[in-house]
């Protein structure tokens, strides 16, 4: 492979990042240390900088929820206020004097509240979720103002929140206002950044991105999507709660307007202005927001119009610079560096920054180097119980019977084919087998276990998964990241909270991803974003996603659909090698390909099993020729 200049540059970069895994952390620390020396010259008052830090910390959690997991909440003020008032109440009304302790208790209170609210709000997705969070935040505001006013001070808030101080024995560290308090806030922010970076680089962080890109597929490969969404929600609530407590400390007063919808709205706008999915976006957005507010009000004398200007800026950014200031700068940097644009969160999420640019020019290797099969249950043991058995499987859509009383079984090690004209009910049948849809009647036994009515995630965890007829990929991620998501499902189970574990510390992940990439012949394209893949490559990745979960039974729904003749030949070769040590069922229209692959073929017609047999028997079957080929053999092709 010829090494072009940009490629060499990207390689250097990769090496650099590998040598300095804490680059972002270090840069953050440096930035926070020099800020007090630089910002005053730019017209930032210390109090403004402190407020920016509180907003930035608030936004770290929100960005994990919105930017990384794709859940746009307009109700974060509920947790900001909860954390703030719990901490302020402890410090002003109970004689509790440990500021840091109160902040942590406030954070925990907010996280618990977030868990309970999340249980309700996450019952629905998309716009429903957004609407429910708005309503919830409004309720919190009213509750704080009225029924709980004895504790929260109602519209007066809670005055007299003390500044933090730490008794170190020999001396006491006191943080008063201005730049002195800045040190405390900067430390809090730094710790917040370090934790947030760990989270987005952890397996959980990878799954968050997968959920944002394609929640359906994330569930289908075996991740508990609801559980992870709830996790992101609780993380965001915890950050909000801690930041809310800091707001009280900063102002020496816990203001009731922390609970208003405006607070949530401002957070959303600042995050979008600064750049979602970048972690630092909310901080930048807050800086822009507060600076413009001061500047427009004081310097230009615009008075109340400042918010209109910010609103217009916000709308323009959403329209034209979707990923905000930080995202825009990252894109610009990539363009200048001669690299293809990639979402910056990928780079945060993955310490190895690599851009494969010339890989597409490299001729595809004809066949993948397939790892030798561990064991080949070559002779299908007819005495052992079938791996999968469906009995009386029926699916009705109103009056339409898509599948009618299907009896079907697969033995371990078999490679089965299913053919049938369009509308024969093949895909419906697969969807029922993987429990994406429930059957109207009938039973499915997998590996001796009744899986009828189970969740698709659990079925995938048991080792039964499928590739889709229409690609269901994580379109914002690279090829490697796609495979990682699927492999994680098998290696970590459906739900695990290893929030601080590094992705490359997951036992066996690297090996499994490498093997899967080799198997589907995408090693050379590993670091290419899915959006840049050719169609045939996407189809192979689709199969790779299913393979990476190492299913004991793999269903492939039209793996050859839409491929060119050359791609078909290659893919059939690929499927053969995959099938060597697996049990597989393949649906396809390409009869020649299927007859070449499958040991046994089932023909579906109008939702029923028409005939079953070896390819030879099917070829000769008069019934099949009548039904499928219209009685004229040889006309059918593709």
């Amino acid at each position: 492979m010829a090494c072009s200049a940009p490629q060499a540059a990207s390689k250097r970069k990769r090496v650099m990042f590998k040598q300095r895994p804490f680059l972002i952390e270090t840069l953050t620390a440096i930035g926070l240390i020099i800020a007090p020396f630089v910002l005053p010259y730019l017209g930032f008052a210390p109090n403004t900088v402190n407020r920016i830090l509180v907003w930035g910390l608030f936004g770290l959690g929100f960005d994990i929820l919105f930017g990384f997991t794709g859940l746009l909440s307009f109700g974060q003020s509920a947790f900001y206020g909860t954390g703030g008032f719990v901490a302020a109440y402890l410090l002003t009304q109970t004689g509790f004097s440990n500021v840091l302790g109160a902040l942590v208790i406030g954070m925990i209170a907010a996280a618990v509240t977030g868990y309970l609210v999340g249980l309700i709000a996450l019952r629905r997705t998309g716009i429903y979720f957004a609407m429910i969070t708005v309503a919830i935040a409004e309720v919190f505001f009213f509750v704080e103002f009225n029924p709980l006013s004895a504790w929260t001070g109602g519209e007066n808030g809670l005055p007299g929140v003390p500044m933090p101080s730490f008794n170190l024995g020999f001396t006491t560290l006191e943080f008063t206002d201005g730049w002195s308090l800045y040190q405390f806030l900067a430390l809090c922010y730094f710790v917040g950044v370090v934790i947030a970076l760990r989270i987005v680089r952890s397996p959980v962080g990878a799954i968050f991105s997968a959920i944002r890109d394609n929640p359906v597929r994330a569930a289908a490969v075996g991740h508990n999507v609801h559980g992870y969404k709830l996790t992101a929600f609780v993380i965001a609530a915890a950050y909000a709660g801690f930041a809310g407590g800091l707001l009280g400390v900063l102002q020496a007063f816990m203001p009731p307007d922390a609970f208003t919808f405006d607070t949530s709205g401002q957070l959303v706008m600042q995050t979008a202005i600064g750049g979602r999915g970048t972690l630092f976006g909310p901080l930048v957005g807050a800086a822009v927001w507060l600076f413009l507010q001061d500047f427009l009000q004081a310097a230009l004398g615009l008075g109340a119009a400042w918010k209109l200007v910010l609103g217009v800026v916000f709308v323009l950014l959403v329209c034209f610079l979707r990923r905000g200031i930080v995202g825009g700068l990252a894109d610009l940097h990539h363009r200048l560096a001669g690299k293809r644009t990639r979402p910056p969160q990928r780079q945060l999420a993955e310490p190895v920054v690599a851009g494969q640019t010339a890989a597409g020019d490299e001729p595809m290797r004809a066949s993948a180097s397939v790892p030798p099969p561990m064991h080949r249950p070559a002779v299908t043991d007819s005495s052992s119980p079938p791996l999968l058995q469906a009995s009386g499987l029926t699916k009705r859509y109103g009056g339409l019977v898509a599948n009618n009383n299907i009896e079907f079984s697969v033995r371990r090690g078999e490679l089965l084919g299913i053919i049938g004209p369009n509308g024969a009910g093949k895909s419906t049948f697969f969807k029922m087998l993987t429990c994406e849809i429930g059957p109207s009647s009938g039973r499915i036994l997998f590996d001796g276990r009744d899986i009828t009515g189970m969740h698709v995630t659990d079925v995938s965890q048991l080792g039964l998964t499928k590739s889709y007829q229409v690609n269901q990929l994580f379109t914002g991620l690279t090829v490697r990241e796609n495979i990682v998501i699927a492999a994680l499902a098998r290696l970590r189970g459906k739900f695990r909270l290893d929030l601080l574990r590094k992705l490359d510390k997951v036992e066996g992940l690297e090996k499994r991803v490498r093997q899967t990439l080799e198997l589907v012949n995408l090693t050379a394209r590993a670091d290419t974003p899915v959006s840049e893949l050719a169609y045939g490559e996407k189809r192979r990745l689709e199969i790779g996603l299913a393979l990476a979960t190492s299913p004991s039974l793999l269903l492939l729904d039209e793996p050859l659909a839409g491929m060119s003749p050359r791609e078909r030949t290659e893919t059939v070769k690929l499927l053969k090698s995959i099938g060597q040590n697996r049990t597989m069922i393949v649906i396809d229209h390409d009869m020649d390909a299927l007859f070449e692959l499958a040991e046994r073929v089932t023909v579906l017609q109008e939702g029923r099993v028409l005939v079953e047999g070896t390819p030879e028997e099917i070829r000769k079957s008069a019934a099949v020729q009548e039904a499928y080929l219209g009685g004229i053999h040889g006309v059918l092709d593709a």
């Binding site: 716009i127 957004a130 429910i132 309503a135």
Partner: protein, 291 residues
């Protein structure tokens, strides 16, 4: 002490508020159902209807002219907004649509604040409906009774539009399956524009009709928007009957709770929404498919 007439009058209040919420929510829900865009500027449009009506009233002194001004201004604004901004967002993710409409809503509120300041304004009810009416067992403000009637007529017109016209048929079909409507060769582009205009008009109309009941402030649409969301969640997204049912339920919950303790009105509203989400996640009259 809660007296019988007091209770009945709160029921009427609930009916008036509920009818109003039903109208606003219908606008929101047909826009969402047809275009797939949740308009977070809907509350601001309600507010703008009130202010446009106020201006109309200042110039003409006629309440009818005020209502016409409020409704037509917001309808035109809706059409312009759809043409200039919203249609570029049909193929962008939901979050972007939420963000941009949210931002536009803020801009609208701030523009009004700039021109009219934050002071509250009032529009008097038309002479015909001024004063109070003796219902036999109690006295009740005439205009509030009139609001129920006016809004009922507006909902009736909306019903006829949705269920008795070609456009309505397309809109309802679009709510069921927008891809199919698209592929039938119907010019959805123009339908979208009209639907956005009608949906916005519903909010603007409600805004000016409500103006004599409450005083006008730039923030008057904010609470309404939240209440509208609850209505839509309870009734089911994209469902016109659901919006009416949800609106009436929400109106009565707010009014009856307010009789005992106004500060619990939102808590009860929220409790009702949670109950619906647990028992019927897709809303009382919503279909499972739309999300």
């Amino acid at each position: 002490m809660i007296s019988w007439p007091n209770f009945v009058s709160q029921l009427f209040n609930g009916l008036a508020l509920g009818a109003l919420l039903a109208l606003i929510s219908s606008g929101l829900t047909i826009i969402y159902g047809t275009l797939g865009v949740l308009n977070l500027a809907h509350g601001a449009m309600f507010m703008l209807g009130g202010y446009a009506g106020y201006v109309g009233y200042q110039y003409s002194g006629s309440f009818v002219a005020a209502v016409a001004a409020g409704a037509i201004f917001v309808m035109i604004l809706g059409v312009v907004m759809e043409r200039v901004v919203i249609r570029h967002f049909y193929h962008r993710p939901n979050e972007d649509q939420l963000l941009v409409t949210f931002g536009l809503g803020i801009c609208f509120v701030e523009i009004v604040r700039l021109f009219f300041s934050s002071q509250s304004l009032s529009v008097p009810p038309p002479p015909l409906f001024q004063g109070i009416t003796n219902l036999g067992f109690m006295y009740y403000p005439t205009y509030r009774l009139a609001v129920v009637g006016i809004v009922a007529i507006a909902l009736g017109v909306l019903f006829l539009l949705l269920y008795r016209t070609r456009l309505g048929m397309i809109v309802r079909a679009g709510i069921e399956d927008s891809v199919m409507v698209d592929s039938l060769g119907i010019n959805v582009d123009r339908v979208f524009m009209v639907v956005f205009g009608i949906g916005a008009m519903a909010a603007g109309f409600a805004g000016i009709v409500n103006a004599p009941v409450v005083s006008l402030t730039p923030g008057v649409g904010d609470d309404i928007l939240v209440e509208t969301f609850v209505v839509v969640v309870i009734g089911g997204v994209g469902s016109f009957p659901g919006a009416i049912l949800g609106g009436l339920i929400a109106g009565e919950i707010i009014s009856i709770t307010s009789m005992f303790n106004p500060s619990y009105a939102y808590v009860m509203l929220f409790a009702a929404m949670t109950l619906v989400l647990v028992v019927r996640p897709h809303g009382l009259l919503g279909a499972a498919g739309r999300e």
